[in-house]
Symmetry: C2
Subunit: 127 residues, 2 copies
DNA sequence: ATTTGCGGTAAGTTTTTTGATACTATGTAC
DNA sequence: GTACATAGTATCAAAAAACTTACCGCAAAT
């Protein structure tokens, strides 16, 4: 298990442009996850439960269509963020949950939450 | 200055669905920032310097057009993330930098970096 | 006299993303 | 025999995002 770079080290090193040993940008993979109209909302709903069925997920995302939910989940599954488990009963159903890789996104959501608390008024407006 | 929720508290409370006192989702504002093809890349470049000129920003974003760079910067300025300062010399130039609200995004990038270090192989592939 | 660098804007086109609608299979309950 | 619930798929249309191209004014350098 490798030592994590401290936040202080991050702050001082980001000015020089941080790259991994392999020469990659370590921020890009995380950023690329949050593209798409529904992806982030789906990820956040998955945060709030251990596992969830297709239909329940849909009810939690007002306005989403089958097409988009299916496509986005398939994409997240491909990326290894989401685990899909199919139960071949009658009627059949499917459960979606985070993989370890998905659960490792929690610190990102936590950081976003703190930012959101500080600036929610800018976003939602004053009461 | 309000106490920040600890990460442990976040983990336990997220299962119930976290809302602010005003009844808002505190994660949505942060998430909404990372939409758009170029936004996140621009934000990350801004992390790496105190301030940067339009042209230099453009050279740091291979493939971006004037149209998109202008539009995205204007959007970020409107959201209060980016500060624009115009120098009316000849030739005139403009400098862009983070506002405090923008600098407060650093913890999000830090969290993304840690995730990226762990999973970069999945994203970039093995050497 | 033309080009260069600066930071853009305007209009129109292409590409990508998203949405609407109808449809699939299965067994159970009515 | 018809409707229901499940988790989707296929096809096409619409909307949104991104891109292309041409252009602006100004002064200095070539």
């Amino acid at each position: 298990m490798k030592e994590m770079m401290s936040y202080e080290e991050f702050l001082s090193r980001v000015k020089d442009g941080i790259v991994t040993e392999a020469g990659n940008c370590p921020v890009t993979p995380g950023l690329s996850l949050f593209q798409g109209k529904w992806t982030d909302q789906i990820l956040y709903v998955l945060c709030t439960c251990d596992s969830i069925r297709f239909g329940e997920l849909k009810r939690n995302l007002p306005g989403i269509t089958n097409t988009m939910l299916t496509a986005t989940l398939k994409d997240l599954e491909l990326k290894g963020i989401v685990h899909r488990e199919q139960f071949n009963e009658i009627p059949p159903h499917v459960e979606y949950s985070f993989t370890e890789k998905g659960r490792d996104l929690y610190p990102i959501f936590y950081a976003m939450m703190n930012w959101g608390y500080k600036y929610e008024k800018d976003f939602y407006g004053e009461k």
